[in-house]
């Protein structure tokens, strides 16, 4: 294990954007907006956001906005709430939320709430607690959470709570660390964490740590760097993160680095990608690894960005 290869990771992230001719990059083309969020947030956590041209990014983001107010994953694709939140998060990162017609974005998100309080991802009606989180997170950053029925939204999330204290995609769905982050995050932002059985969920979550030190997303699954984010944030939000061995997890993440070419992978010696690079670095930030900016576990943005939004008078 070495230290975090900061410079290599910065180079890797900057190079991903330029490598447009590989098959992988075309397959990922539709979620470039998520990619932008992962890459740019990582750069900010590493203190290197100024290496990118903010105006260029912002002008591309705005080209992805549709008449409905929602954003697509890339130019040419359809709008979806998954990409709308990334667009808003990246603009917040650059302190450029003022380029948005906030009312228009809020109208798009508000329109996706269903009668039972749940949210659809887009006009085609797929329902998932991921979308509940996104709607709540996004509207809160835009300072207009009151545009939706928060009580119903919370009740829907609670209807997805399971015997193990965790949460699934829809009522009856199995608990999954990613889904738990979404539900706990949404409950955190709406001041509703008292609905979470912290000891029960905390035990389930801390048992995600396997012998290698890595975390898995469900019982009896393989560890994966991305769960460093989903599990750690959830444990932090319910104040149970001391129940895992943080040092072992730091080692696991550092072992997943490609120290030659930069980037972090799901498990040691696998191929790296920007998604796992973000989750690895963000995970290290949550573990208080020296030299990294602190990240907010609920809004998934650096703490200074969030504090600027919420505590400026």
């Amino acid at each position: 294990m070495g230290e975090l290869a900061v410079d290599k990771h910065v180079q890797y992230i900057l190079s991903v954007e330029k490598r447009k001719d590989s098959f992988e990059s075309v397959v990922m083309d539709h979620l470039r907006m998520n990619g932008a969020y992962w890459g740019l947030t990582t750069l900010d956590l590493l203190g290197k956001l100024d290496t990118v041209d903010a105006d260029e990014v912002i002008s591309w983001i705005m080209k992805c906005q549709h008449e409905s107010g929602g954003f697509s994953g890339n130019i040419g694709h359809d709008p979806h709430i998954l990409y709308t939140v990334s667009a808003v998060q990246v603009l917040a990162l650059f302190n450029k939320l003022d380029v948005l017609d906030i009312d228009k974005v809020a109208t798009y998100i508000t329109g996706l709430q269903n009668e039972d309080g749940s949210f659809s991802g887009d006009i085609w009606g797929e329902v998932d607690t991921r979308f509940s989180y996104i709607a709540i997170c996004c509207l809160s950053i835009l300072r207009c959470l009151d545009r939706i029925n928060v009580e119903k939204a919370v009740n829907y999330i609670l209807s997805c709570k399971n015997l193990d204290g965790g949460f699934g995609c829809t009522p009856g769905g199995e608990s999954h660390a990613g889904q738990i982050f979404c539900c706990v995050g949404a409950l955190a932002i709406t001041g509703s964490l008292h609905h979470v059985d912290k000891d029960l969920l905390g035990w389930w979550l801390c048992e995600r740590q396997v012998k290698s030190g890595g975390l898995n997303g469900r019982p009896e699954k393989l560890p994966d760097v991305c769960y460093s984010w989903w599990v750690l944030t959830s444990l932090i939000m319910i104040d149970r993160v001391h129940w895992i061995d943080k040092e072992k997890l730091v080692k696991f993440i550092l072992n997943c680095q490609d120290v030659e070419n930069g980037g972090i992978s799901d498990r040691p010696d696998d191929a790296v990608d920007v998604f796992h690079t973000y989750f690895g670095v963000a995970g290290l930030s949550l573990l208080e690894y020296p030299g990294l900016k602190a990240i907010d576990p609920a809004y998934a943005l650096p703490v200074d960005v969030i504090n600027r939004i919420f505590f400026s008078r």
Binding site: G76, H77, D78, A188, E220, D266, F311
Partner: protein
């Protein structure tokens, strides 16, 4: 990219990848042109299928196909036969996409969308699912889809329950199947379906089933959570119940003005100094409840109208649900001796989280003696300052005070005579589990065995059928947790926290053990002994605080020299006026949020903690703030003069301390505490008289 080995690409691979990429990009460009121009010809639709076959994640192509279907269905010549065949085509495209990527959200949703049209046969779906679920028995998309299909075809819950059984018998290690079983079983029990009338008739068999899984491989987690759920279902009371109260039943409460009452015959355990003209009544339930109000709780006293009482939930968020509730009873300014009777839950309306009404009403009564306030008193108020030095505390009951009546220990908790009747079978079931896990441990040393045994023993001791709150197994449980800390060091702190709770249960389980921690405060300055009893739980290496239901009476609490990083639950101790948390592991001010609910708190020592040392705040969202929308926007107009920069940097201190009425605060020994920060504190807390032992002007 999951599970793909990292290797330097060979030049020929790169060339192949570039060629594939070029082909896919061309396909995509053509697709966009069809999509944006709303062209739904056969050729165009086929092209989208080709695109999805290569990249099932291309969500816009799924959207396009839905538009195409709707376009065809809206054609005047379309009939139900042609509609069905169009939809069947969609199902085929989905199936081939799923073969390419089993986890494609877009593909699964497209299938649901097609089936929801109600024109396709659903018989094929379970066969297809069976194939998929055999190939990957943990795929949660498939399980979600299975629940959707079962619902759509009205398949009975019993049949689905049988399916989980088959899956589990194929392989015990299937968390998904155990999960689905718990969902189905809860529904069947809730509906009281045939064969599922009571837990008593269902749970014993489930216990046997899960034992097979756990005994087969105790380290496999698949059965752990299901077993814990069964245990919980066995012992959990659906209905809420009053566990304890302050004032306790049968107690004599002396309420004083701001002057010491020397030589009084009243117990220092129940003497309360109050200059606000009221004292709190605290109700502690066995679980969170809603609906505590002047209509569900009646308070009869000679001096106060019960209807005027406002019951407030002691919840840190704005929730109207809480395990502990408080109301403030006003008393007259003249001398008074009166008895008070409190009846809880005699009229309907107190509702537990599971939605059941409180079916066990309780009554408790106590006597109140009020001594009028004498304004001419030259002495300061009783709890105004404290020096937390060892020599200032004397073990209670060693001197002349022995003649003073102290509270009766048994009164600390309510007597709930009705409970044992309900739980004969659960006593048996629990005893059986204890025996079973002892057997497991005799076969092999395993953490789930020890943990389950420890949990079961604690629950067993806490149940009212065991010998009246004597924790007969607590030593064994403490031992088990100590073993676990060694056996599974990665989760050391989990076991340590659990151990702390057991330790506190043990300390508060008998009068003898509790009295060892009760002290009388006397410093060299004050001439008289007039302070209430101080409970000292210092140097116990506690990492977590608990047993609050037994500690509602405490006014001075010393928790110094422990390992607390949280004081979750402390809001229940409504009488607290002095609190020492010196030398603990508190990491941030947000961890002090429970203190905001303690309106009598005047003296606080948080010196030598870790506040300001950590970049990540683990109580950031357990504290009321604008981040969680749990404070209104009125804070923006707060008149406290602190700068914007100070606010952004120290919002935690601002939100916590502006609601405390502290007179004495010790904060030295925290990374955050410097002169500049202290000057902010003084601005936020105008009531403060003493900071780090120095008097403020």
């Amino acid at each position: 990219m999951h599970g793909r080995p990292r290797k330097a690409p060979k030049p020929e691979d790169e060339a192949a990848s570039a060629a594939k990429a070029q082909k896919l990009r061309a396909l995509q460009t053509q697709f966009f042109s069809y999509h944006h121009n709303k062209i739904y010809t056969k050729e165009a639709v086929e092209l989208s299928a080709k695109l999805l076959e290569i990249n099932p994640e291309s969500y816009t192509a799924w959207n396009y196909r839905k538009l195409a279907v709707e376009h065809y269905l809206s054609q005047p010549k379309s009939n139900s036969n042609s509609a069905k065949s169009i939809l069947d085509d969609e199902l085929r495209v989905v199936e081939s996409a799923l073969r390419q990527n089993f986890k494609s959200y877009g593909a699964w949703h497209h299938r649901k969308w097609v089936l929801s049209k109600g024109l396709s046969s659903i018989d094929h779906e379970l066969i297809l699912l069976d194939k998929f679920q055999k190939a990957d028995s943990r795929n949660f998309h498939a399980w979600n889809y299975r629940r959707f299909v079962a619902e759509l075809m009205n398949r009975s819950k019993q049949d689905e329950l049988k399916y989980t059984e088959d899956m589990i018998y194929t392989n015990f290690s299937n968390y998904s199947a155990w999960h689905n079983r718990s969902v189905l079983l809860s529904t069947l029990l809730e509906k009281k379906a045939e064969g599922f009338l009571s837990k008593e008739s269902v749970l014993p068999e489930e216990f046997e089933f899960i034992h097979q899984a756990i005994f087969t491989d105790p380290d496999d987690q698949s059965g752990w959570f299901y077993h814990l759920w069964l245990l919980d279902q066995t012992v959990k009371a659906d209905s809420s119940l009053l566990v304890s109260s302050w004032p306790a039943h049968g107690s004599d409460v002396l309420v004083l003005g701001d002057r010491c009452n020397n030589g009084s015959a009243f117990s220092p355990f129940t003497t309360l100094q109050s200059n606000s003209g009221s004292f709190p009544i605290v109700l502690y339930f066995n679980q969170s409840v809603e609906g505590v109000s002047s209509s569900t709780v009646t308070v009869e006293s000679g001096f106060n109208n019960s209807e005027d009482l406002v019951w407030k939930p002691l919840s840190l968020s704005n929730s109207q649900t809480a395990q502990v509730w408080v109301a403030h009873l006003k008393f007259p300014t003249s001398e008074l001796h009166s008895s008070v009777k409190v009846s809880v839950g005699h009229s309907k309306g107190i509702i537990s989280a599971s939605g059941s009404q409180n079916s066990y009403p309780s009554i408790f009564s106590f006597k109140v003696h009020v001594q009028p306030i004498e304004r001419d008193s030259s002495q300061g108020s009783v709890s105004e300052s404290i020096l937390w030095r060892g020599e200032n505390f004397k073990v209670y009951g060693t001197q002349s005070e022995e003649s003073i009546p102290i509270f009766s220990f048994d009164q600390l908790s309510m007597r709930n005579d009705h409970e044992p009747m309900a739980s004969n079978w659960c006593a048996e079931a629990l005893a059986k589990e204890i025996e079973c896990f002892r057997e497991l441990l005799s076969l092999m040393d395993c953490k789930i065995g020890k943990l389950t045994l420890a949990r079961s023993l604690m629950v067993y001791d806490a149940m009212s059928f065991s010998c009246a709150n004597k924790l007969v197994h607590s030593e064994e449980v403490l031992e088990l947790y100590s073993d676990l800390m060694k056996l599974d060091p990665s989760h050391y702190s989990y076991y340590k926290d659990e151990r702390s709770l057991v330790l506190l249960q043990q300390v508060t389980s008998s009068r003898e053990s509790l009295m060892k921690h009760c002290f009388q405060y006397k410093d060299s300055v004050s001439s008289t002994i007039c302070k209430p009893i101080c409970l000292r739980l210092n140097h116990l290496s506690l990492s977590r605080m608990g047993a609050f239901e037994k500690l509602l009476w405490v006014q001075i609490l010393d928790l110094s020299h422990n390992e607390l990083q949280s004081i979750e639950g402390l809001e229940a101790m409504q009488l607290l006026s002095c609190l020492s948390l010196r030398n603990n592991k508190l990491r941030s001010f947000t961890a002090l949020d429970p203190l905001r609910k303690l309106k009598l708190l005047r003296v606080l020592d948080i010196s030598y903690n870790q506040i300001g040392e950590h970049s990540i705040d683990t109580t950031r969202y357990l504290c009321s703030s604008p981040l969680s929308h749990s404070v209104g926007s009125e804070w923006n107009n707060d008149e406290t003069v602190i700068s914007d920069v100070a606010l952004i940097n120290h919002w935690e201190a601002f939100f916590i301390f502006k609601e405390l009425n502290l007179k004495q605060l010790d904060i030295v020994g925290n990374a955050i505490a410097d002169e500049k920060f202290n000057s902010i504190l003084v601005k936020v807390m105008p009531t403060l008289k003493q900071l780090d032992g120095e008097l403020l002007d």
